[in-house]
Assembly symmetry: C2
Homo-oligomer: 388 residues x 2
């Protein structure tokens, strides 16, 4: 592989095809914040503001400013979203709403803590760029609330009857181990280390099935398999994304066996999730091969493929495992043939199983400015590492 050529390609896609799309189309000059519901050509088709997507966009432009280029337009753009979030994003308890109207009135209550996780990430990353104590404080206070709510993240909106079938969710440790690094500056050092150790233990212990070599989305509190729709659920993209978080942590801890576990688990999930007939990675699967309850199970989603590219390149850069390179070439080809839109910029998000564009949008309620730029940046960095 020509790592140098590839690194340039990933950087160029990021800076010429993706960043300009969001700068050009998503700014709401009148009411602040960003539009995320954008058609293929960037036309706004809905003006609701989804807090987690607002926060992800603030994070993205702050991260690019901090790590790629000190471009003042990017910082201004991040601050534009942060002001909107600060003014309208929280309820009286300090929890972050799920969604707001265009002018910032609350639409959906803080019924989970994912808005909060991304808000904390956004203000943490932004504070690194600005040095603002106030922004750091928002990140720290939000993290405090996440910790308080962690035992019952859905709060009063939890529909499960307590006690009958307790389950814990992979999403929480996965996001926490990434989050504490993002807002490290705003947290006590030992809290960061404790959280990381606890998350690694849960992910590689409780959510991992050593017999199958796979990561599950939900398990019993003690890590046991639960034979139900939720308990059988696999989300290959989600698990693969987590493995590169773990690889970064393994590198940080200089823990070789954790690194090997993460790379091997990533390859297992990829092999299990690959569609042999049409190519691409399935969205949802049942660990026993039964029909999943998610009707969209066989669709090919942008973030799944991008996060897998990151994981493969990091795995290759960290360990030199040849399977990573073989899989990367195959997945790179599929991804670049199907998702980018050279006409209008940004990438399509949703393909059907056959690989045709299913929704002609660049953003919506669940896709914003996050996975494409983050993954292109992470891939480019890993490729640079491989050059040397």
């Amino acid at each position: 592989m020509d790592f140098s050529f590839l690194a340039k390609r990933y950087y160029r896609e990021l800076t010429e095809n993706v960043i300009p799309f969001w700068l050009r189309h998503s700014m709401d000059e009148a009411h602040g914040g960003y539009f995320s519901c954008l058609l293929s050509d960037g036309e706004v088709y809905d003006t609701d503001k989804f807090v987690w997507l607002q926060a992800r966009q603030v994070w993205t432009f702050s991260m690019l400013y901090n790590q790629l280029e000190c471009n003042p337009n990017w910082l201004d753009f991040a601050l534009h979203g942060a002001r909107f979030l600060e003014a309208h994003g929280r309820d009286e308890k300090g929890d972050w709403y799920f969604s707001l109207t265009r002018d910032g009135r609350p639409l959906l209550q803080p019924y989970n803590i994912f808005s909060d996780c991304f808000a904390a990430m956004a203000f943490g990353q932004l504070a690194r760029a600005t040095g603002s104590e106030k922004q750091r404080e928002i990140a720290a206070v939000t993290f405090q609330r996440i910790t308080e709510r962690r035992g019952n993240p859905k709060g009063i909106y939890e529909k499960a009857v307590p006690g009958t079938r307790p389950l814990k969710s992979f999403a929480l440790p996965m996001i926490l181990c990434n989050l504490v690094l993002e807002i490290e500056d705003a947290l006590p050092g030992e809290l960061v280390e404790e959280t990381i150790e606890e998350c690694i233990r849960e992910i590689s212990g409780d959510f991992y099935d050593p017999g199958k070599g796979l990561l599950f989305e939900h398990v019993a509190p003690d890590g046991k398999f639960v034979n139900s729709f939720e308990g059988r659920l696999l989300n290959p993209g989600h698990a693969i994304e987590a493995t590169w978080f773990i690889m970064d942590l393994a590198a940080r801890k200089d823990d070789e066996s954790l690194m090997e576990w993460a790379v091997q688990t990533m390859l297992n999930m990829l092999t299990y999730g690959w569609d042999e007939k049409y190519g691409g990675i399935y969205y949802f699967m049942d660990a026993r091969g039964y029909p999943p309850q998610q009707l969209e199970w066989d669709q090919k989603l942008w973030w799944v493929h991008l996060e897998a590219l990151v994981a493969l390149l990091k795995g290759y850069a960290f360990t030199g495992e040849p399977e990573c390179a073989i899989w990367f070439e195959k997945l790179h080809d599929y991804t670049w043939q199907h998702f980018p839109d050279p006409n209008h910029g940004e990438w399509f998000g949703y393909l059907n199983r056959q690989g045709e564009v299913l929704l002609h949008l660049k953003g919506g309620k669940w896709k914003g400015c996050f996975h494409v730029p983050r993954a292109l940046f992470q891939c480019a960095r890993a490729l640079e590492q491989l050059i040397h």
Copy 2:
């Protein structure tokens, strides 16, 4: 069209291919109630009991006993499910849980009132078969709770912030106008008439857009269009199912203009929802042609096609509108070519846009014993009416 031949075909499918499938595969001898998660060949792949599906199955076998044939096996089968529901289905307030474990322990709280609606229908229909005062009482008490909860059907699980964007949902008047007829014997006559009038007013007034001739899923409390994902949402199958409820009510009231409205609206929804490329009716659409938030929007679902067949035949039998016959032939061909499974009985539920089977199941969390037998029965009856 050879109505007599078709009527026989629909009856035969019901009695030889569908009823036997459920009798054979869905009975839980050990714990009571029914399995609804069944693979193509009837194998049970999950044992959770979804209250609304349990209730729908009790209703179906009671209805068949009452209206098709006084077969004591069918009544026993209905009673088998009713005993399970009576023993395990309700919380201390008398609200019906969403789901239970195989042995009846509650899993998901009564977070909406659809379990309750189908429980009321089930016990109302069963009471007609048995004459049981106790069953009639369960239907009446459940209806009372539905009425009390109607203003806030999700109760404490409602995630919308009050006041920002109030919306009302088409599902509620649609199900209520059907429900009051089902449990007529257990309700005061004037309550039945009032509810019917109110539902007709809401459906044909508030949820109907006269400019487009379409029925919307959510509108403002005063019936105005709300430009949001929920406000733009169309569900052709859902609206078409409602039109045949309205046709039955129009016949009952001898209201010709309401009948014409229902038939025309059904044809409008069908034309709007038809997939010109691959055939079949889309699941979800956006009234302005924007990407819907439902990723499964282009799939072809069994109940959508079956309810549309019922609506077309009723429309034709009631009014003789030739468009109904033309559409019926086209839809009948598509439906019978794609959904039935002559090998193992019952019908497949979920096809992709191209018409291929997407999930190899006969039942799951959202498909049970209800739409296929009800629609086959209703079609056969309408066809008989057309013979004479």
